[in-house]
């Protein structure tokens, strides 16, 4: 496995804990959201930086109480066509103001690299064989029709020299 | 993976590069002519054909492999169902197009 860094963030080096595994004191670990909810503060006391592994069907409002405790988030795609993962990343940035690393895992494909970046992902775990294709796909487009939540403003604005303006009302 | 089959079966697919309809022969190569198709009469035979066909898919030569009911026409295999018979012939509303014109219609070696 290789890690493609989309944004240049300082990528986390963590272990994914098994269901019944106790974190080593101070260790950087990723665990399923359900476990963080069940074990609550106890878990955070023992471990070092903690990340949540999220299924694509996670309701973002469930994450709100954890926001100031999570160091990073992993969104695990069950299939590359499960577009909920993109909206979940958008929700983390836009609605929850999450600034930490968002990582994509699962069978995402190189052709989604720019979509992942623009939805708010920082990193993506890919097979070694596909690392080059992922990096090439990142360079495919350099102009975008949409404003997104990562600072990219739409071409409709850029055409008129409006790069960061709010909508006139 | 044994499954019950109702009658003789043959395999149809489309070629990856040009999409043209092809039927699998007994040696695992493909023909534009339905009558060239290998026909399996039992489950074991069907599974053997599927293994062969999958090999062609793995080699990126065909896609959309279908195991279909076979009947006979002029003593040769032919798809039993109207949908696959359409594939063997070409569009009924354009008799000037498709294999109904000639078995070699538009076939190029790929």
């Amino acid at each position: 496995m290789a890690l493609v860094n989309l944004t240049g963030i300082q990528a986390g080096d963590f272990t994914v804990l098994a269901e019944d595994q106790t974190p080593a004191e101070g260790a950087t670990v990723a665990v399923p959201l359900s476990r963080l909810r069940d074990e609550g503060d106890d878990f955070f006391k023992v471990a070092g930086p903690v990340g949540a592994v999220l299924a694509t069907d996670t309701n973002y409002t469930d994450l709100a109480p954890l926001m100031n405790k999570l160091a990073f988030v992993v969104i695990d795609f069950p299939a590359f066509g499960d577009g909920r993962g993109f909206s979940l990343a958008v929700r983390l940035r836009k609605d929850l103001g999450f600034k930490g690393e968002i990582r994509a895992t699962g069978p995402v494909i190189p052709d989604q690299a720019l979509f992942l970046l623009r939805a708010g992902f920082d990193t993506v775990e890919v097979s070694d064989a596909r690392e080059a294709a992922f990096k090439a796909a990142l360079k495919r487009f350099d102009t975008f029709y949409q404003t997104d939540y990562t600072g990219q403003v739409s071409l409709a604005h850029a055409r008129h020299g409006k790069n960061q303006e709010r909508k006139a009302s | 993976m044994a499954r019950k089959i109702k009658g003789p079966q043959m395999i149809v697919a489309n070629r990856l590069l040009d999409g043209r309809v092809v039927f699998m022969k007994a040696d695992g190569t493909w023909s534009a002519v339905a009558g060239d198709a290998a026909v399996a009469a039992d489950e074991a035979g069907v599974e053997a054909l599927e293994v062969l066909a999958q090999k062609s898919a793995d080699e990126n030569y065909v896609l959309s492999i279908e195991v279909i009911d076979a009947t006979e026409r002029d003593g040769k295999p032919f798809p039993a169902h109207m949908k696959f018979a359409m594939q063997a012939k070409g569009p009924s509303v354009r008799p000037d197009l498709g294999y109904q014109v000639s078995p070699a219609w538009e076939q190029t070696d790929l």
Partner: protein, 551 residues
């Protein structure tokens, strides 16, 4: 017409390069078919029964004569000399090779066309009124909004892997020629009391195996908020639309499950959070795009043209064509001409390369170099001076395109059906051909009047049978083609779902049944009453009795 700037060109060219790379990776085995399939679909490429099929977008149904000539050139060079115009204002080629498609897409990109998002689980080509910007009954030209939506929805980072396909239609006229109520999102251009332009927003319409008519979730959305509001609708759908069953994955199912009020509430809640972000187009961009759709400089002319009336009196076919195939333009003395692609016995929506070139030449000479595609699978010459009609009709007639049946019984919608389509259960085209032969009498057709027949070869209803005054649905009954007859649908502003009349028929049986249905209508109608009105007034029973007999 909209003209690409350097950014649009760069984006479409990048897309072609991307697809060329994807095809190469697929052929080399670096992409599996499972991975490649959605990528090729998002470039309009299907695998059908006999070959690949490429669906090219004609954005909101407007194209130039030069673009039409490119479509003809592609038909000739890469296909079998013809193309099929569809109910979504696209054109389909039936025989392209996978290995040729990057070159085809490049030829399209060179004339500012593409096949982007004409398929796949993404936001599809936006459709609209074929007479947009040219019809007398319009509030505002919907095409600038369609173009703004086209740009916003192209390569959307969040909405390219939706639960299912997503279709948006917009109309700027009270008479709905775009079937907006049958779309995932329907937009109706409106003006408020202050005279400002905005939209009524409908969601959750769709055909398929569960026909649903869209429901209004907002009576008036200001123009400047269009994209942020669409984004809110799409986000709710992308998050909550079902992904466990593709037959329940369209937005109509979610709107039904939540209720339209709840869908509206969630949309509104999300929209409030994003409406002040720079998601929407700035006013300068709206102005830039609207300028491309400025009305052509037409002279006001006399509506009465004696030479036209005289020919209409002398030649019944021309007279019928004048009555049926022209629509009043907003500039006096002008009309929009519908070129019917429904010759009796022909294939609905098909046009040869030569026919496309003829129509392009006519557009250059008579319609400002502009053409339209209608969702009813016909071609339109907009902005035509009435005095030019005899010359235009003569040229069309010589090429087999002068058929005066627009809006009449033989102006049918038909999907490609089992002759081409890998999803179909029965053929559609032979039925349309047989109907054309059975009703090949323009005096009789004229007497029957406006009647929309829509034929689908399977439950996916690409032939809009749910919205037909008379709908036909082809099914596979124990290996035999069987056709169900539906009555009472409408795709217009008075949208309604057609209802199945009774047991199905074979091909001849269903055509006999249509003859009986028409006979009942002729017997029951009051003076000037059209088929649908009579059906709605008298109900299905009298039709049922005529078709199936009394029990």
């Amino acid at each position: 017409m909209y003209a690409y700037d350097k950014y649009d060109h760069a984006l479409v060219n990048s897309r072609v390069a991307e697809f060329r790379d994807q095809v190469e990776r697929r052929v080399k085995g670096e992409l599996t078919e499972e991975e490649f399939r959605p990528l090729r679909l998002m470039n309009g490429l299907y695998l059908q029964l006999h070959a690949y099929m490429l669906r090219v977008a004609v954005p909101y149904g407007t194209l130039s004569a030069d673009q039409m000539r490119t479509l003809a050139h592609i038909a000739r060079k890469y296909d079998k000399g013809y193309g099929h115009f569809t109910t979504r204002q696209n054109i389909q080629y039936n025989w392209p090779k996978l290995s040729d498609t990057p070159d085809i897409l490049q030829e399209l990109a060179d004339v500012e066309m593409h096949a982007i998002q004409t398929s796949g689980n993404c936001i599809r080509n936006v459709t609209t009124d074929q007479f947009a910007g040219a019809t007398a009954d319009e509030i505002a030209d919907p095409r600038p909004y369609a173009e703004l939506i086209r740009q916003w929805s192209s390569f959307h980072p969040e909405f390219s892997f939706l639960p299912r396909k997503f279709k948006i239609a917009i109309t700027g006229a009270d008479i709905d020629r775009a079937a907006v109520k049958w779309h995932d999102i329907g937009l109706v251009v409106k003006k408020n009391d202050a005279g400002e332009v905005g939209f009524e927003v409908l969601v959750g319409g769709g055909m398929g195996r569960t026909p649903v008519i869209a429901k209004t979730i907002r009576d008036f959305l200001p123009e400047k908020d269009l994209l942020s509001y669409l984004e809110a609708i799409l986000r709710v759908y992308n998050e909550q639309g079902r992904r466990d069953n593709k037959y329940k994955a369209r937005i109509k199912i979610l709107v039904d499950a939540l209720g339209a009020d709840e869908y509206a509430r969630q949309t509104e809640e999300e929209w409030q959070k994003i409406k002040d972000l720079p998601i929407d187009f700035p006013a300068e961009e709206a102005a830039r795009i609207k300028a491309f759709f400025a009305p052509p400089p037409l002279q006001v002319l006399e509506d009465n043209v004696p030479a036209v009336d005289e020919l209409a009196k002398k030649n019944f076919i021309f007279g019928a064509w004048l009555k049926n195939n022209t629509n009043q333009h907003k500039v006096p003395g002008h009309v929009n001409v519908t070129i019917s692609l429904k010759p009796h016995g022909g294939i609905p929506g098909d046009a040869t390369a030569e026919q496309m070139e003829l129509v392009a030449a006519l557009a250059d000479e008579y319609s400002q170099g502009e053409l339209r595609i209608s969702h009813e699978q016909n071609l339109i010459l907009p902005h035509v001076a009435k005095k030019d009609l005899p010359a235009i009709w003569t040229d069309l007639d010589e090429a087999g395109l002068g058929i005066p049946n627009a809006g009449l019984l033989t102006d049918m919608i038909a999907c490609p059906g089992l002759d081409y389509c890998s999803l179909a259960n029965a053929r559609s085209i032979p039925l349309a051909q047989e109907l054309g032969k059975r009703f090949d009498d323009f005096k009789r057709l004229q007497d029957i009047g406006p009647l929309k027949i829509k034929i689908s070869g399977c439950i996916n209803s690409c032939g809009h049978h749910h919205a037909g005054h008379i709908g036909i649905l082809g099914v596979d009954r124990k290996g035999e083609e069987n056709y169900q007859l539906l009555l009472g649908g409408s795709g217009a502003e008075d949208a309604s779902k057609a209802a199945i009349l009774g047991p199905g028929f074979d091909e001849n049986g269903v055509i006999d049944a249509i003859e009986k249905v028409v006979a009942v209508y002729l017997g029951e109608r009051t003076d000037g009453e059209e088929f649908l009105a009579t059906y709605r007034r008298v109900g299905p029973d009298v039709f049922k009795e005529a078709v199936y007999g009394t029990r």
